[in-house]
């Protein structure tokens, strides 16, 4: 029993590891992408949009297959399951993050920029004191939601052979099918609880931020 729990935990660690690395990459690349997406250049805009839509239209499952099997076959490069997963989730996360960053900056009213400048602030001062703090406040809950979605979606990676928490659960259930026919309920309950432990604090934080904003208490 204790052993099974440890196995679940190590499966969970795979999930968390893939998520954390992908989220970290997505934050950095997505922020850069978002900055590019606010460009006034039509071609740049369209290209970014196309990228985003393609990523969104295809299920992550399909992307996993494409990267894990397709790219391996085409290029001869051999990505392991975890690496493929990180690549796919980064491609997806960066696209979503980029769109969030773009949306956040475009939602900041023009007069916030203009009144900053007309007060004599330099552009760097304007971004540091006025624009970024507002952007960050609006961005944070959305970023946390995206991270939560990414963590939950990592369950898909068992399909390309990565032994994450759900897969460990199934293995445990199968191994104990005859001895403990009800194992499934307990194992899934344990997994549910683990996801809950990770995602619930995140959504609490995000909700707290939103509430704080609504009361506009700032600092």
């Amino acid at each position: 029993m204790g052993n099974n729990f440890l196995r679940l935990l190590s499966g969970l660690w795979v999930t968390v590891r893939i998520s954390l690395i992908s989220i970290a990459f997505s934050l950095v690349l997505g922020t850069l992408l978002g900055a590019v997406m606010t460009s006034r250049n039509r071609v740049v805009k369209v290209l970014c949009r196309v990228y985003l839509e393609i990523v969104r239209i295809m299920p992550q499952l399909v992307w996993l297959f494409i990267v894990f099997f397709g790219v391996t076959r085409l290029t001869g490069a051999n990505f392991g399951g975890e690496t493929s997963a990180v690549i796919v989730f980064t491609i997806w996360g960066a696209a979503e993050m980029g769109d969030l960053v773009r949306g956040t900056f475009e939602a900041i009213p023009r007069h916030q920029f203009e009144s900053s400048l007309s007060l004599g602030l330099t552009k760097p001062q304007m971004y540091i004191s006025i624009i970024f703090p507002q952007a960050l406040r609006n961005l944070l809950p959305n970023v946390i939601n995206l991270a939560t979605r990414m963590i939950k979606t990592t369950a898909l990676v068992s399909i390309i052979g990565v032994t994450e928490v759900l897969k460990v659960g199934k293995q445990i259930i199968d191994a104990n099918r005859f001895e403990f026919p009800n194992a499934a309920i307990w194992v899934y309950a344990a997994i549910f609880f683990m996801y809950f432990l990770i995602c619930f604090p995140l959504s609490m934080i995000s909700r707290a931020i939103v509430k704080k904003q609504q009361r506009s208490e700032g600092e």
């Binding site: 916030q112 203009e114 009144s115 400048l117 004599g120 001062q125 004191s129 506009s216 700032g218």
Partner: protein, 260 residues
């Protein structure tokens, strides 16, 4: 509103020019919005800019502090050229206070921090001293108790009064007010206009765009009527409102149902 006599008349105003606008042309694409504007504002003078919607009043104010590039002519503030995109603009803008129609307070900062941000960051003034002056200004516009509030907790009229303080603390040479009551509920218009009237009485140089004709008449030393990209007529408020000299001004004034 008959406070006109409380202000110095145009003749008493020393003719030191704060702003000189010479032959300014502003185009959006091929469309000349401002087509050769000549206008000077003297120290202590209150110029009210009126004209039909879309005639370029906001555009002119925006050109004055370099938010828009101009395609012809010159603008100078105390002899210093205002040039869009130039480094010198940062210095010049500190001397030009601007309040917009939209509520443009910084939503993530308290009222006090909204006001003290630019003196501290831009003018590098002492924080305590800036806060003391901010409190004085807030008291002057009747909002001393709101220093710790956030903009979202204020009414539109209160926000605009804070925005005025935020500009005033920079000790500008001229205040540009662009329809600052246009987005307000009617019952709040008065409290904001009273603050502006008070500024006018204390000798603040201002260029004001407004659709409140009674207010324009009360506050202005000079009315400038803009239409079709040019100044059609300018005169003292009494002359302009009683005896407009051009047919266009007359037609424009008829569109207002103000009682006098």
């Amino acid at each position: 509103m008959t406070e006109t006599e409380l202000k110095p008349s145009a003749a008493e105003i020393p003719s030191e020019h704060i702003i000189d606008i010479n032959g300014v042309v502003k185009r959006f694409g091929d469309n000349a919005i401002l087509d050769g504007i000549d206008l000077s504002v003297s120290k202590g003078e209150v110029v009210v800019l009126i004209g039909p919607s879309g005639c370029g009043k906001s555009t002119l104010l925006r050109c004055l502090n370099g938010l828009e590039p101009i395609q012809g002519g010159t603008i100078t503030l105390h002899g210093e050229p205002v040039i869009h995109g130039e480094k010198s603009l940062y210095k010049i803008r500190q001397k030009i206070g601007m309040v917009f129609q939209s509520y443009d307070l910084f939503p993530h900062l308290t009222v006090l921090k909204n006001i003290t941000l630019s003196p501290i960051k831009v003018q590098k003034r002492d924080k305590a001293e800036a806060e003391r002056q901010a409190m004085e200004l807030l008291a002057r516009v009747g909002l001393a108790d709101k220093a710790k509030s956030y903009p979202s907790e204020l009414s539109g009229g209160q926000k605009q009064r804070v925005a005025i303080c935020r500009s005033l603390i920079m000790d500008p040479e001229i205040m540009l007010l662009d329809e600052i009551t246009a987005a307000l509920d009617p019952e709040m218009v008065h409290e904001v206009l009273n603050v502006v009237l008070d500024l006018a009485k204390s000798g603040t140089t201002m260029m004001i765009v407004t659709h409140e004709m009674a207010f324009a008449q009360a506050v202005a030393d000079r009315i400038v009527f803009l239409d079709g990209g040019s100044i059609i007529e300018q005169d003292t408020p009494d002359e302009f409102f009683r005896h407009p000299k051009t047919e266009r001004a007359e037609r424009f004034l008829k569109t207002f149902t103000y009682t006098k």
